[in-house]
């Protein structure tokens, strides 16, 4: 019997790249660029003869076209295009694929039929925004600039902070459709060459058609795909990137993305804020401890409530049980469903406020906080003790500086919630063991994700849960195996 839906024979895609060996001719180029309304072909009469300009008008800077190409060619007495265009960076082209690449990236192709020479010069229109303060990693003290979508500007911001020749950059192009430029940055004398090799191989192995964001690049470079934990630190701060480079890490900048990727990282880097290094060490350490505590609190507070109210009522002090019994005595839902419904409602509010304009978001806050919070308690759907716990848990989850981590908390909360409702407090312990076991098994650029705890690097503990005085952090993290261990000249 034949299939109900017979498969159509797979047609070869028209957009598959032509061989790079095809010589570049006027006809072939026109054929390749057919049906592009924004394509401009201009014939320019010059002393050399007629020169043809091919370009996509939506991609190039039309003002500079006259200044850099047309005027010099009109007033040129030389016999070659390359000699006339002294102010432009001219490249000679030899094959069709190269020409296609250049024209779609914002170059102007110049064709001299008399000598049958093809040239390309980049005249890309500068579509960039001004440098603004960071949005997701705001600090009180510290730099107020953040990455933009222009990769060259981002490289400049890092280079200004690290004006050394040892800061190397390697450029890669990924994505068969987007042809996204990825720049890998590292400090040659510090970063372990093993990481560079691994990173280089990973980038080269990327095979996908389009990349719109650095997180998509990270997804292809990660060692572990099926984990909620990020294995690259995404940051919009050039100072954070330069600090990471100085420690011996690698930074990846992706064109058209305002976020850089940092790797290899460990789990504890996700709790570090750039401000940690600008504040007094005691205050910074205190804030860091608060962050770790609030992560743990956000993760376990709601599951703990469910575990206690479902199984382990014995562990509660009588004073608290007295309050809890009073509030729960007339509720229609079991603790598990009460928690699940409230957490889902909270997530709906969070998501909705993210998608809304600022003013609508404020209204949503009022609706969510007052109407839903207060009304559910008064209606007798949820206990007021639980509302307090959900509030604390939600606020605590926002203390983690990394946005991706705040999202992970929600997921893990549900995981622990199910375990706690089934097994009580042993369920939470079991869940935590599973999470820690999973974290221990992860790697970032093949380096252990739970270092410096497992494997144990005691020296790195000076900048782990506490941020020791800067004067005492004289060594780079051991787990990065840097070529230069010491950060001070005296010991090198």
């Amino acid at each position: 019997m034949g299939s109900l839906f017979p498969k159509k024979p797979r047609q070869k895609s028209k957009s598959e790249p032509l061989s790079s060996k095809i010589p570049l001719t006027d006809e072939l180029l026109k054929k390749s660029l057919a049906n592009m309304e924004d394509l401009e072909i201009i014939a320019l009469n010059t002393n050399i003869g007629t020169v043809f300009l091919y370009y996509i008008k939506t991609l190039i800077d039309n003002e500079r076209l006259n200044e850099v190409i047309v005027e010099p060619l009109n007033h040129c007495s030389k016999d070659q295009i390359a000699k006339c265009l002294m102010n432009a960076k001219i490249e000679k082209l030899s094959n069709l694929e190269e020409a296609e690449k250049k024209i779609v990236q914002g170059s102007i192709l110049l064709y001299d039929p008399t000598q049958n020479h093809w040239f390309a010069t980049l005249l890309e229109t500068p579509l960039s925004r001004s440098i603004e303060p960071p949005e997701t990693e705001t600090v009180i003290y510290g730099a107020k600039d953040s990455f933009v979508e222009q990769i060259d500007q981002n490289i400049t911001m890092i280079r200004q902070r690290l004006p050394v020749t040892a800061l190397k950059t390697e450029t890669f192009n990924i994505g068969s459709l987007s042809r996204t430029k990825v720049v890998m940055m590292y400090i040659e004398d510090i970063t372990n060459p093993e990481f560079i090799t691994i990173a280089r191989e990973k980038i080269k192995a990327i095979d996908f058609d389009q990349f719109l964001d650095s997180s998509q690049v990270a997804a292809f470079m990660e060692d572990h795909k099926n984990t909620p934990f990020p294995q690259f630190l995404e940051t919009e701060r050039p100072d954070a990137c330069s600090n990471s480079l100085a420690l011996g890490k690698i930074v990846f900048l992706v064109d058209k993305t305002a976020y850089g990727l940092v790797g290899p990282i460990n789990f504890f880097h996700l709790f570090q804020s750039p401000e940690d290094y600008f504040l007094r060490w005691i205050i910074a350490s205190f804030l860091r401890c608060i962050r770790f505590s609030s992560f743990f609190l956000a993760l376990t507070l709601v599951p703990l409530y469910v575990a206690i109210t479902t199984h382990n009522y014995e562990i509660l002090p009588l004073q608290i049980l007295y309050v809890l019994l009073e509030t729960r005595s007339k509720l229609p839902f079991t603790p598990f469903w009460e928690a699940t419904l409230m957490l889902i409602t909270l997530e709906i509010i969070k998501e909705a406020s993210l998608r809304m304009p600022t003013k609508s978001g404020q209204i949503l806050g009022v609706i969510g906080g007052i109407v839903i919070g207060q009304a559910t308690v008064q209606a007798g759907f949820v206990s007021n003790v639980f509302i307090v716990l959900v509030g604390i848990s939600a606020i605590a989850s926002f203390l983690v500086p990394n946005y991706l981590m705040t999202k992970i908390i929600t997921l893990l909360q549900f995981f622990l919630l199910v375990l706690s409702s089934l097994l009580g407090i042993p369920g939470i312990v079991l869940g935590m063991i599973i999470i820690i076991a999973h974290l221990v098994g992860l790697t970032s650029l093949k380096q252990p994700y739970f270092a410096p705890i497992t494997p144990l690097y005691l020296k790195d503990w000076n900048d782990l849960f506490i941020r020791g005085p800067l004067t005492s952090i004289k060594e780079r993290p051991s787990f990065l195996s840097p070529l230069q261990r010491w950060r001070i000249k005296k010991r090198r």
Binding site: I308, T309, E314, L318, L324, L325, L331, L423, A437, T443
Partner: protein
């Protein structure tokens, strides 16, 4: 492959915990569906049965009632309570156990062992000896004090926490420790109960698991100074017409080599909080004479208390420990008990009063 080893090891560790630990089958204890009882009151019945009383519903602002059952076994009582009430009564929050004095005289080892081996019952369970009709007090107070059970617990917790020398509060763990210690006899607080009152009487002294005697008033105060808290917030001495406040004692018990004489030295520091006598305390010699008077009085009272303990063959102050040494026992627990009643006492008090009064003679 790098991460699999620690992961698998952690899983093994986790399963070991589960296997060696508690049962994986959790009890359904949804708090709105259960009634976690706070106390049990147990007394012996003339028929040889046990009479167990509790208050339901515990901790909730609902009309309360007392449940009393006559049973042969304690656990049987716990089970049969459930048949009388719509919520399942759970013992996971059992915080107080009131034992009738008559039952305590007969021995409470089996009762205590049953509760101690129950994994649901916390070792922080307070044990109280009740002299009188506790059930009558409960029934009478219910209308006036709906959360009576809760506030009784708060009272015991308060006096346990702050060790002010007001009461000898003992929990299950402490009682078991004392019960099975070869050189110590257990103690428990005694409360007197009647229809309208529930008041602290003193300390019950046990010989093994059987109640031997009760000490109260001044004896109880001295007992607090000698062994329990070694601190009394207010020490009232009506014969000397004074009250000492914040009394701290530094006691030293010393047995001589022949174990024939027990030397008790007690350094006491306290503030003179109130004085109604005729001495002018601004005069140093009169203050010293008052000091001496109090010392003599305390020495006499302490000697009487210790003699009483010897007579009853109880040693709640762990004096028997003085017969032991790091490497060998000089005498067994039984030998010590026989020896204890014949030991001579040499009690010496050294009192330091901080006068804060201006004196009464002008």
């Amino acid at each position: 492959m790098k991460g699999y080893k620690p992961t698998s090891l952690l899983f093994v560790f986790c399963f070991l915990i589960v296997m060696s630990g508690c049962s994986p089958y959790t009890e359904n204890n949804i708090v709105e569906e259960i009634a976690p009882v706070i106390f049990w009151s147990i007394k012996n019945d003339p028929n040889g049965q046990l009479s167990i009383t509790t208050l339901v519903p515990p901790l909730i602002k609902e009309t309360k009632q007392t449940f009393t059952l006559k049973v042969d076994l304690i656990k049987q009582g716990g089970k049969e309570f459930n048949l009388k009430y719509y919520r399942e009564l759970k013992t996971g929050q059992l915080r107080m156990l009131f034992i009738n004095k008559e039952l305590a005289f007969k021995g409470i080892r089996t009762l205590i062992n049953t509760l101690f081996t129950d994994p649901d019952v916390s070792s922080r369970l307070y044990i109280v000896i009740v002299d009188g009709d506790f059930e009558a007090y409960l029934k009478n107070q219910l209308s006036k004090q709906p959360s009576l059970d809760y506030f009784l617990y708060r009272m015991l917790k308060h006096y346990e926490k702050y060790n002010q020398g007001d009461m000898s509060i003992v929990n299950l763990h402490e009682f078991m420790k004392q019960l099975y210690s070869p050189f110590q006899d257990p103690i428990l607080p005694v409360f007197k109960a009647d229809k309208n009152n529930f008041t602290y009487e003193g300390t019950a002294l046990f010989h093994g698991d059987k109640l031997k005697t009760t000490i109260n008033n001044m004896d109880d105060q001295i007992f607090q100074l000698l062994g329990n808290d070694r601190y009394v917030k207010l020490l009232a001495l009506p014969k000397q017409k004074l009250v000492l406040g914040r009394v701290r004692s530094k006691v030293e018990f010393r047995l001589d080599q022949t174990t024939k004489v027990l030397h008790v030295t007690d350094q006491i520091n306290g503030r003179l909080e109130e004085y109604q006598g005729n001495k002018n305390l601004l005069n140093q010699s009169e203050l010293s004479s008052l000091n001496k008077e109090v010392e003599v009085y305390l020495e006499h009272e302490t000697t009487e208390l210790l003699k009483n303990m010897q007579k009853e063959k109880v040693d709640p102050l762990q004096i028997g420990l003085l017969t032991t040494s790091p490497f060998f026992e000089r005498m067994t627990s039984k030998e010590w008990k026989d020896q204890w009643e014949n030991i001579k006492l040499d009690v010496h008090f050294s009192l330091k009063i901080q006068p804060v009064t201006t004196g009464n003679k002008m």
